[in-house]
Point group: C2
Chain length 584, copies 2
């Protein structure tokens, strides 16, 4: 039951397709390079297999418990978290100023595929800690960063993000948490938050909560919201711990999966004694939080992909190892081959998408040419909701297919698939449900900058397809891809037309199928890019089945899944309003 990942595919992505060696052109990475990255990733994979994966089933069985307001994580989590932190895995891609490793985020993302694929709930503790520390680093004062960040990156303290309230789920602006200024510059915080991942636990000596609250008298809605760093145990100016800070964990949720991740209801200031530090400027809390949310959304996509990849590797081994009379009996069934191919295509397509998006992030960060920089950022903005929603939904789908490959055994806890399915489902829900992602994609990203984000995306794909000559092995698939891209363009134009006519409801009704439509194209494009590179290797004489499979995988996806683009387009263009008219 060991966690496996297709190391060859990972290396193909990093060094043949994305050529991450080129990052050494940036001063920050000048001393790094392929050999170093390989060493780092090798260590991350080994740690995932030896330390994190074995805790996955134990964690699922034991779950978290709460006694007198203190959450206990499953057996072995505390020790593993300590070792994880000592390896420098929390702050891999953050500044060495605060103890980070200063790696490009692409390398951190790959390592996180391993950590997450081996154990989703375990990786959430470090993911949230890194995210919240990074937020303080980015927007807090130097003093605040100095107080918190290093101890969070080195695993001494943990972090959370506290948005949701019982009366404000997706509608964050309706929150009721209140902050009152104290004379010493801190704020007095009162409020209740729910669904707080890692809200309490026993892995670290302190937890720094990043809390959205409204300073008394500030504007209603999202505009008047500020961000506060609220330690579980008060932190004195010298960094030492003081008294408990009136943060009460009042409940933990019992969930379908990620049972080893505590999901907490927190009360701030029950006794009126909860203090917090303002992060950045007053009333800019939502803007700051969006940075963290965008990172978190990419991580949700990574959860979908990495769990799917782990499930696929297990199902593949299971199919290959069931031998009767000398033949792998399952592999001889075309329907099983179809299921394995579906898993392979989605897993590799999503991996390609997430890795590439992450590399674009590195480039956006370091690029000095403002036109290029903007184009990079545009692409990340456009693809973030697709990475989040498509990869979590199809990550779940892959676990469903993997279970069918196993048959009855897949439904049994003796094998890992059923836990994967339960664990990965959360990714479609949190950090903004996938319905919210679709609205973001259609409502914000598509229309942003006069449609520039989508236009650039379309242009790049068109240029890619134009580069494939007649007679090329992938010409026919490329023609299909371009047709689908054109269809997406027509649907986008239709949305503009409908929107201009003042109809807001119909586009919102069609947002989910539109995101799915563009998601299919995006995956097909990434698989095709890889297939073209593989085809070159074959033409150059390689007989490696890896390359041949890459070409097959792209053709398979284009033939089997890409036709869904026309189906979704037909639905959207039907102008069917039945769902709006339904009298429920």
């Amino acid at each position: 039951m060991t966690y496996h990942v297709d190391e060859k595919d990972v290396a193909f992505n990093l060094y043949e397709c994305l050529k991450i060696n080129e990052l050494t052109q940036y001063a920050a990475y000048a001393e790094q390079g392929e050999e170093f990255y390989k060493m780092v990733l090798d260590a991350a994979l080994k740690f995932s297999q030896k330390e994190i994966d074995p805790l996955n089933k134990i964690g699922d069985e034991q779950g978290c418990t709460i006694t007198n307001g203190q959450v206990t994580t499953p057996k072995g989590y505390k020790e593993a978290y300590k070792a994880f932190a000592e390896n420098g895995f929390i702050g891999m891609d953050v500044s060495p100023n605060f103890g980070g490793q200063g790696l490009p985020s692409i390398v951190s993302v790959v390592a996180n595929e391993f950590f997450t694929g081996a154990n989703v709930p375990f990786s959430m503790y470090s993911g949230l800690t890194r995210g919240s520390a990074h937020l303080i680093e980015a927007f807090g004062t130097d003093a605040l960063s100095k107080l918190f960040c290093e101890k969070m990156y080195n695993g001494e303290w943990a972090g959370t993000m506290c948005l949701t309230e019982p009366w404000a789920g997706s509608d964050v602006g309706a929150l009721r948490s209140v902050a009152k200024p104290n004379s010493d510059g801190t704020f007095n915080i009162t409020g209740s938050k729910i669904f707080i991942s890692s809200g309490d636990h026993d892995l670290t000596s302190n937890i720094i909560h990043l809390v959205l609250a409204r300073v008394e008298g500030d504007a209603p809605g999202t505009k008047g919201i500020s961000l506060f760093a609220v330690p579980k145990i008060w932190v004195k100016p010298d960094g030492s711990l003081g008294e408990a800070n009136d943060v009460a964990c009042v409940n933990i949720e019992h969930k379908m999966g990620i049972k080893a991740s505590s999901t907490c209801a927190l009360n701030f200031g029950e006794k009126g004694k909860c203090r917090g530090f303002l992060v950045g400027k007053k009333s800019l809390g939502m803007r700051y939080m969006f940075q963290m949310m965008n990172e978190a959304r990419l991580m949700c996509g990574m959860q979908g992909q990495s769990v799917a990849a782990a499930a696929y590797e297990h199902a593949l081994r299971y199919a290959k190892e069931r031998v009767q009379g000398g033949t792998a009996i399952l592999l001889s069934h075309p329907d099983v081959r179809r299921n394995l191919s579906l898993c392979k295509a989605w897993v590799e397509g999503m991996r390609a998408l997430l890795y590439k998006t992450s590399l674009i992030g590195d480039k956006a960060h370091h690029e000095t040419d403002s036109t290029k920089k903007e184009r990079y950022q545009n692409r990340i903005d456009l693809l973030t909701p697709i990475c989040k929603a498509y990869c979590s939904d199809y990550g779940f789908k892959v676990t469903e297919i993997a279970m069918q490959i196993y048959g009855g055994y897949g439904y049994c806890s003796e094998y890992p698939i059923e836990q994967y399915m339960r664990d990965v489902k959360i990714s479609s829900i949190y950090e903004g449900t996938n319905g919210i992602q679709a609205l973001d994609f259609l409502g914000r990203k598509l229309s942003s900058k006069g449609g520039a984000l989508f236009r650039e995306f379309y242009e790049d794909m068109t240029a890619f397809n134009a580069g494939i000559a007649d007679g090329h092995e992938l010409k026919e698939s490329s023609t299909q891809l371009q047709k689908s891209a054109d269809t997406a363009g027509q649907v986008a134009m239709k949305f503009m037309e409908i929107g201009m006519a003042g109809d807001r409801d119909y586009p919102m009704l069609s947002a989910t199928p539109f995101l799915e439509l563009v998601g299919h194209i995006t995956i097909a494009w990434h698989l095709m890019e890889q297939a073209v590179i593989a085809d070159k290797a074959i033409k150059a004489g390689s007989t490696d089945s890896f390359y041949k499979n890459k070409v097959r995988t792209a053709k398979f996806f284009v033939a089997q899944i890409l036709p869904n683009v026309q189906a979704r387009a037909k639905s959207i263009l039907s102008m069917d309003r039945a769902a709006l008219e339904m009298e429920f």
Copy 2:
């Protein structure tokens, strides 16, 4: 958290669409009728809500346990099973000769929607008991029926079906269980069976296992398999219980869901003292078992539909009850309306399909005109794999959508959706995985009788569409449906052509998308039939929103889901063989 069902939709199906009153034309039902059926179903629903549903969560939490080879069911199950049996719910549709209620199976199927929707694992105990008793009744001698059936239908004893062995999953012919004739006419049974639902429990004083085994010296493969009735406790000729019959429950599975249903590994004849009665003729075991499997496959479809219906009713109430400032906030979101409409369309379409198929079964049973009888039976044979695979897969899909409607709460055990999702997943796997169903549909049903089953299906749909006049409210949707039916016909022709050319692999590779394709059309057709009836009611002056919603639902499904037919057809007609060529 009470179990709810759309009683209006159930009544609309039974009395307006299917007109089940007409069954009174058959002598067996001459004394029955609408009023009686309503009374029976009302009792079944009340029992489901008051007695079965409250045990669903308890059963999930406690699961089954095994101590010294004896399985214990969760608290309350034994008492509820006794009351269930006393109400005559086990043998509703079987002969009064053995204590059955003699109801048409359509009424039993509706009751089973309630039982199953309220609690899948609970309903499995009675479902398997009814199925195995019915098999003895159909194929056993009168003496054997007399010995077993009444006590099974009245709940004193339970039943199972024992097919799978550790070395023979989907390939039943590879089984190793052996039967040796004894001098008293019984057989000595030895063998190991796994994944036996209800294989052991404490609900009844005895369990009658129907076991597939090969009589020593009989043909290998499926042809030499016989069926045996093997009691857990030996049954004396006068029906009283004797000694334990050397049937050992050695293990129970820990599963993702249906935790209150015991899934057992059974050893027969560990001490060489296990005896069984031959059921019917020697070597005809597979043929007999197929009758039970066909019934069981329809019940799998019903599990998908009924759990989906229960999940939808909860999600609908949740969406309607979340009120902010006087408006149902979730219902105001087009994306939520889309999700609710998807659930509604699938739930109602699958209900219409399963009810109608069941009524066709009643007609096939009683019809005396042999041409009509054969046509009825053809339809059941064609639709059985679709009912099983499509309804279980889309039943699961509906629970996924229902969870998205709930957001984070849907992932929490406090609400019922996550259990529904876990419980219903098994229906895609057992009784032949959905991959097996697709092969059955394409390999057996499509080509059966020179393609007559599919041709009749196509003819009936074409006649339905031809009956919708120009200018009719549903004309455009009907045109789309006919186009899809024509596409299905073309794809079927293509399969014949490929098969004639000697290519077996490609059709097998395309079996799953083909079943899905025909499944979409089947659901669309059933929704359209209901919409036409609803439209007539509207034209006759009804202003009931129920009827208006029926028309909307059909239009919605045709616009949103039916385009998938063209996508699947395109995939199949692409002749893409990449999955066959993949080097895994």
